[in-house]
Point group: C2
Chain length 201, copies 2
């Protein structure tokens, strides 16, 4: 019988998506769950909710708590963490590159590396050079991948992803969705989502 | 040396505050942490954020996830849970009664019982009869307590609580605050907050 699957929905701008991205593959292996990385854009979904940027920027007390929470959580996880100078960053290019790479086998490595570049090193993720360096490190030709990322097909594919996210009731990232349609929101629910997936729910 | 302390900030309308209220006293005893229950009102704080009701009512996808999340979490915790017909309920009377009872020694029992009445039985928490029944069960004279709850002193005390919450940067409930001023938001952070308090942070 095939392994159960879990969809991992993320936006590269999202701080808590970073915490899940760097942990999810090891946890999924242990649970014998096959992952499906699903990058999407929160921006269009936030716009429907009346927000033109991250709620962490709109609601200052919520933002202050989020940064302190990230410091505490990354310390507990022994993860490097550096608050980027600009927040939120624009995850558009990253999401497109990830969509190109997922069927080719390097999309997950690229995604995790881009999150690390953003929240460990402080690199600008909308700069093509940031992605190019990661791709080169994965033995992927940067020009081919970046050109494919900007193709009309990829642009349309990302729009469909985001529409699927909306259809599935997503309102934040990270989110996790089982084959049975159970939706879990937030890095705090990663373990629970894997457990539901593992039990075939 | 006195035990370290942790402030437990809650609003009776808050679903996730229920999950913390029914768990926190046992967990705090184990951690040798002394609790300070601090009821407050989210309404005035939400108003500043531009919300005239619960964000779970304003943002429908977020609300749908919250109710499903509560079902899953209460099932895991073997806690009874019944979605109230009206949401959010008005926690004003409950917060005032709790403020009367906390210095008298019955405030914590009353608070936990009111949360249970709301989310286990489905009772209306703004009805004086709901509080009266709980108080009678605690051998507290309901009329004396309810009169004290509606006194000008108690009304002013609740306003100060809510202003203190705002000053401390609270933006949701439950929240936890250590003697060192560390702020933790959400039932998901209860264990971490107790751990910080236990370590004297």
């Amino acid at each position: 019988m095939a392994n159960p699957t879990l969809e991992f929905w993320f936006d590269f701008a999202s701080t808590y998506s970073y915490l899940s991205a760097v942990r999810i593959r090891t946890l999924a292996r242990t649970a014998n769950v096959t992952l499906r990385f699903r990058p999407f854009l929160l921006g269009p979904i936030f716009k429907t909710l009346g927000w033109d940027t991250s709620p962490f920027s709109i609601y200052q007390a919520k933002g202050r708590h989020m940064w302190r929470d990230l410091e505490r959580l990354t310390a507990d996880l022994n993860l490097p963490f550096r608050r980027p100078e600009a927040f939120p960053q624009n995850g558009l290019l990253g999401a497109r590159v990830a969509l190109v790479g997922l069927p080719l086998g390097w999309g997950e490595d690229y995604s995790v590396a881009l999150f690390r570049a953003e929240f460990e090193t402080g690199d600008p993720i909308d700069a093509p050079a940031t992605s190019a360096a990661i791709l080169a490190g994965l033995n992927v030709d940067p020009k081919t991948a970046l050109d494919a990322a900007q193709s009309d097909d990829t642009k349309a594919a990302l729009r469909s992803q985001t529409e699927a996210a909306r259809r599935f009731g997503l309102f934040g990232a990270p989110s996790f969705r089982t084959a049975g349609g159970e939706l879990f929101w937030g890095n705090d629910r990663l373990e629970q989502a894997l457990d539901w997936a593992r039990r075939g729910k």
